[in-house]
Symmetry: C2
Subunit: 415 residues, 2 copies
Amino acid sequence: MRAVIIAVGDELTSGATVDTNSAWLADGLGRRGIAVARHVTVGDDTGAIAAAVAAAAEADVVLITGGLGPTADDLSRQGLADAMGAELREDARQIERIAARFASFGREMKPSNRSQALVPEGARPIDNDWGTAPGLAATVGAARVFVLPGVPREMEAMFAAKVFPELPAAGAVARRLIHTYGTGESDVGETIVDLMARGRNPAVGTTAKAGVITVRVNASADTPGEAEALADEAAAEVRRRLGELVFGEGPGTLPAAVGELLAAAGETLATAESCTGGLIARMITDVPGASRYYLGGAVAYANEAKTDLAGVDPALIEAHGAVSDEVAEALAVGIRRRLGADWSVATTGVAGPTGGTDAKPVGLVCMAVAGPTGGEVHRRTFPGDRDVVRGRAALALLNHLRLALTGSAAQRENR
Amino acid sequence: MRAVIIAVGDELTSGATVDTNSAWLADGLGRRGIAVARHVTVGDDTGAIAAAVAAAAEADVVLITGGLGPTADDLSRQGLADAMGAELREDARQIERIAARFASFGREMKPSNRSQALVPEGARPIDNDWGTAPGLAATVGAARVFVLPGVPREMEAMFAAKVFPELPAAGAVARRLIHTYGTGESDVGETIVDLMARGRNPAVGTTAKAGVITVRVNASADTPGEAEALADEAAAEVRRRLGELVFGEGPGTLPAAVGELLAAAGETLATAESCTGGLIARMITDVPGASRYYLGGAVAYANEAKTDLAGVDPALIEAHGAVSDEVAEALAVGIRRRLGADWSVATTGVAGPTGGTDAKPVGLVCMAVAGPTGGEVHRRTFPGDRDVVRGRAALALLNHLRLALTGSAAQRENR
């Protein structure tokens, strides 16, 4: 069972916009056991669209996104009609639906929107409950063809509700994602090298993104139950081998994992950030419900702010410099006391691109964790530009906090 | 002059990774006046790669990324050789370069890396100064074909240094990006509708991203000088019509525009964030050199943190609730005083997904600006999920600050 995905739009071919729809759809097809042979992106050009559809007709499934808007450069309807050798006809029911949608906003349908109700003879419209443009379903050669709007929100909703259930199922697939932090991709790979051998089921692979190494497990079977069982077994083995490197699964993130540990212990957190400048606070508060455990913190960018907000002694900054283990520790201890938190984290460093010295180069970050039983300071020099240094430091420090929380929870249990 | 871009990798066809290389390369080709007819993505499969290259041979330029790694599933070298009807031969100079690169890290070259020095007969290797995989240059049919590594950092550096200068130039192109904030895309479009007419040169278009509407100007001419002059003229007209909606150009961002205004006035900024939870501080400190004007701030998530870090009277929170115009204003006034800043901004709101009431629904954000001549509070309800609400509120507040800074600068000049 093979699929081809076609994205339509001059903004895509010209590079003004990155096509994220095709990857999203490929992932969705994969969950149905359908492998994607090829993605193709063409511009707003009837001939190019028709040619791409015709060339994809050897596949079992063809998904097309974009080119369904109301303006003269929206040509996917015509392109599909040309590939089918059919004429476009106005669909009365879709005209009604589009007019009703405008009416629901208290507006009148514009004449240009009539074009959105055009359907090639032999194709059928797919209701769009999230926007004005109906989708299209047709058969070209051996292929079942679906056309969806290019707006990601509409496309995703329509695919999930209207297309996915109609797809031919090629067996069952179950997936697991296991996230690790603290070592490189090659180290993770060596630990599970036998599970990653080509041709095995479940298929196991790794991807690295900003220091997080994720192990992907894809299990195929005849029934969903068998696939889930295979995936669970492999995921358990991966977790066993990787031990405390593993911080989460599925949609889990490192800040969410930290949050779950804090919430489970009924403990609170404060932050004091110099070089990360609010990034750690933002990552923590990205997680819904963070107010259960996160009190707040200081963005202590200027030296005076380190003193005014986190109570760092100016003499300490004078003696060791703002970027120092001592000041990182003082920031963590100070903000923890100021806000009455159980735990705190703090950063101070040289994010760059300027401000580095031989002793304190660009990329150096001092990271502190303070908790009920004391504190720790870690000092690392991260390679990369300003964004990378800040992002890596934030993740590294959150991982130190996670390990401290895990250790603290283990101590409690042993007591 | 037309190009085809081919991306290679199972992680791309399966949707595990979004292909950003093709859009980046399309933009680069556009700067050389070369239009991109099609993007194609194929998996790690020699036959699929060779077929994609052969099908692209009607183009003038073909760019291929990925499949140049050292493992058995890196097949772009073989795919190109098959499309050329040629054999792969080991290139002695590339073997030396790869070994030298390993030696520079104090490591020995692994046997698998020898495969990276393979070059189809009739093709030529392109030195990679940023990684181990050399690129390839060849001619297939009428097309000049370039193969580059899939790692974006290596790909971008090699394209800029080694491929771009070799591309046939199809006239000169000059581009401008003019960023606006404060109104919708259709309003911006109506203001410049005549400049956006199809077929005009410069071509003018708009794109919307997270509330920022960007006007793109693409001017074509025979010489770079003429193209630049055309682009400057059109950009000046766009700026004139859009007035104070315009906050920046080119790579400029709203936080950078605010930073330039502060630095020009020699003034300083502090932040106090509840619902945005550090996001505004992070955006401000994303800009290199932010320490010239940014002192720091409070992430005042819990009520106690609003009091402890920004001096908000608990009775005020009790009387009006944490999400209120009064508390937003008190946060701004309090952090400005605490840090001795010239300006401050503050947020308090309901980011969701829970915590909303009829009076204070999810999406409601109270945003305050305080400055040398007083303050202002803005209250808006943003649609969308937690991320969208926080992101929109941060941009909206930074834009209020920008307008206040611009007004303040104008007053100074009139005095």
